[in-house]
Amino acid sequence: MLTTSLEFAVFLPCVFLLYWFVLNKNLKLQNALILVASYVFYGWWDWRFLLLIAFSSAVDFTVGILLNKTDQPSSRKWLLATSIFVNLGLLGFFKYFNFFLDSFVDTFTLFGANFSIDRLNIILPVGISFYTLQTLSYTIDVYDRKLKGSKDFLAFFAYVSFFPQLVAGPIERATQLLPQFQKKRTFEYDKAADGLRQILWGLFKKIVVADNLAGYTSSVIANYESHNGSTLFLALCVFAIQFYCDFSGYSDIAIGTGRLFGFSLMKNFDYPFFSRNMAELWQRWHISLITWFRDYLVRRFKGFHKWDMARNIFIIFLITGIWHGADWTYIIWGVLHGLLFMTLIFAKKRKKYKVIVAKGKLLPSLTEAGLMIKTFVLFTITGIFFLIRPLDKCFKYAAKMFDLSFFSLPELPFNRAIAAVVLLFVIEWFQREKEHGLDISNLSIPKTFKWGIYYALIFTIFYYGGDQQDFLYFQF
């Protein structure tokens, strides 16, 4: 079920009313409702893959309980290894099997052995990359004794499959989200109202901005040979914005929906296009993924020397690239970002920007504006390897982009799409110190004016929305 569909618009109020009006006095029933709702939500796409989530949850639930019962280091290691093997095994099979098969055949072909193996026709279960990391965070946290293994079957299964963030994050930590399932939740007016505002903002970003830009990027990229260099460059810039609005729009809807049910989900995007270098950008882009790899993977590597840090950063981005997809282009994309980040470590600029640009000011300085544009361009250009496949097409695209036609006038997207992007950047700039673009709860303006803004946004979403597209991150 898409969170931008009419089905979801009916599904959400039904679950909400049952949750707060019928089952509000019983935590277990509330968790059961979330579990059932989450399985319906996921099964709407393909019910067969529910078995996969259920299996993954059952394995980790059992491992958690067994970890509670043993203090023997070797047994604990075996239990953790079992969880990792099962979860990464499933992910590896569904996501990477054909990639490794192709790479295996290519390697042998390179050495003169000619043979072929038939690829398997594997459907990638939606959200598997996300819920695998979420459920793994649980067993690792229990192994590290940051958390007791849960004995509450309903709470644990609901934690793994929590529908607002099930298919595209934010990727939650067990230490942060699971306890919220285990204690009574109370309805807070301000939290719920702001949740609705965040959902509205997410819908605007997804339907008005991303969906209106999708046609331009896909048509330029599909026929890149027939466009000039400046148009190809513009298409990359447009794709970066489309991608941001698509993904952060989903995250906003997820976080907002979570708040309606009394949950606090972690922030996933924090105005990344207002970053002054790549290190700052990666503190603001897909935060839940980058910090997951930092917290659960590289923190296990010892060392505080800058070479150790550089190695850790490189590993994080390499894994991030691989996580995104089974293709060499993603790996190169990850490596490139790792290298860009490493240069900042050696230049001691990794933590240079901790607060948002031009904090408390109306406009940025010229230097700040220049740094933001430079960061955006770097992010955009490396995006070639994220957006285009296969690898040889990336190089052809880059070669065409940087030929002499780069200095000619580009073909622009529709006026409506341009207007949507301008509106987005203006609103996000003025709201950059707030939780989200529509966080106007503390704004001292009349209520009728606030409602006017909401009505205008709703009208814009209905009337100027682009053709419905799947969320881009569903493919990961």
């Binding site: 569909s5 009419l6 707060w20 309805f187 007016y189 719920a192 109202a193 909401y454 209905f462 009337y463």
Partner: protein
């Protein structure tokens, strides 16, 4: 919690009221609804059924036919969707004697995909569902918000934009916007220069082997049903203006003719070609491929005479064969 819900309801009420009123209004003034109601009210008496795209819908006013006729021809509908209607309703019409089926040039090469534009209308009014009907397809506004909002706004801003239709769903008063030939004062030179002209030409001259063969298979099913139930099947090509006819490709004509040659030896099947009927009188058309209500009246009366003669001849032939 209560405060939140009350605020939410108060917020939603104005939006909901506007949307519900729009939906109700659009449903009340809907040609699909008129056709369905006419069909339901006259099931026991209907003797003829018209199927096809807008060419047939706009050319034949069932009220001018002596035979009780229902027109289930709809805008942009292809053979596969017309067959859905036929399969559903033909068995419910005990007196059905004729099926008038559009066979304009290009119709054999078109197909309505899963996402065809009138999917929601067939779902709402005829309860005909395609395999991927979503919740959106149960409401006009949610199925195509932009289109229906613009339509509503155009009705509100100028009443002349509202078409008037009779009980059988035939439009006897065109909306101001669609009467293209009148807008260009029936001036051929101005019309030739206008980019709105020939907009259907690509559609008519399209060659698509896959669609052609699947449509022929569907029509063979129609022929078999009609033969088994002694229903006369009349393929028809309604009038088009010369501005359109002179641009039709020979290949498109040949493809249709091949199919007609294969089927017309059957005594229950006929093909009546009216493509060149008054083709030079462009004041009888509202665009290059559709008759206006005045042209439709003239054409329907001509068709009525032909149907009467056909009926007499068929009865005579049947009596002779009985003896």
């Amino acid at each position: 919690m209560k405060k939140f819900l009350i605020q939410l309801i108060i917020f939603i009420i104005p939006v909901g009221m506007i949307l519900v009123s729009m939906e109700v209004y659009l449903r009340q003034n809907n040609i699909y609804r008129a056709k369905k109601t006419f069909l339901d009210n006259n099931k026991q008496d209907i003797e003829a059924l018209i199927l096809g795209p807008s060419y047939s819908w706009r050319s034949i006013n069932p009220e001018f036919l002596d035979t009780k006729t229902a027109s289930l021809a709809h805008e942009a509908s292809a053979i596969n969707t017309n067959m859905m209607l036929f399969d559903k309703y033909a068995p419910q019409l005990p007196k059905l004697k004729y099926v008038i089926f559009d066979l304009s040039i290009g119709f054999l090469d078109t197909h309505n995909e899963e996402n065809w534009e009138s999917k929601h209308l067939f779902n709402i009014y005829y309860d005909i569902k395609s395999s991927n009907n979503n919740l959106e397809d149960y409401f006009l506004l949610s199925s195509n918000f932009k289109y229906y909002t613009k339509l509503c706004l155009s009705y509100i801003t100028d009443p002349d934009n509202i078409p008037a239709f009779n009980d059988s769903g035939f439009i006897y008063k065109l909306s101001k916007q669609e009467d293209i030939f009148r807008i260009h004062e029936y001036n051929s030179e101005r019309l030739k220069q206008a980019d709105v002209l020939y907009r259907r030409l690509d559609y008519q001259n399209t060659i698509n082997e896959e669609n052609y063969h699947s449509n022929i298979d569907l029509l063979k099913g129609l022929i078999t049903y009609c033969r088994e139930n002694k229903i006369n099947l009349i393929f028809i090509s309604p009038p088009k203006s010369y501005l359109n006819n002179e641009k039709i490709s020979t290949e498109a004509i040949t493809r249709r003719q091949k199919f007609i040659d294969d089927i017309t030896p059957d005594p229950y099947i006929s093909f009546w070609n009216y493509e060149n009927f008054h083709e030079q009188d462009i004041n009888l058309f509202y665009d290059d491929t559709h008759l206006n209500p005045k042209g439709a009246e003239l054409f329907t009366k001509t068709l009525n005479r032909k149907l009467d003669n056909y009926l007499i001849n068929r009865n005579r032939a049947e009596m002779q064969s009985e003896f």
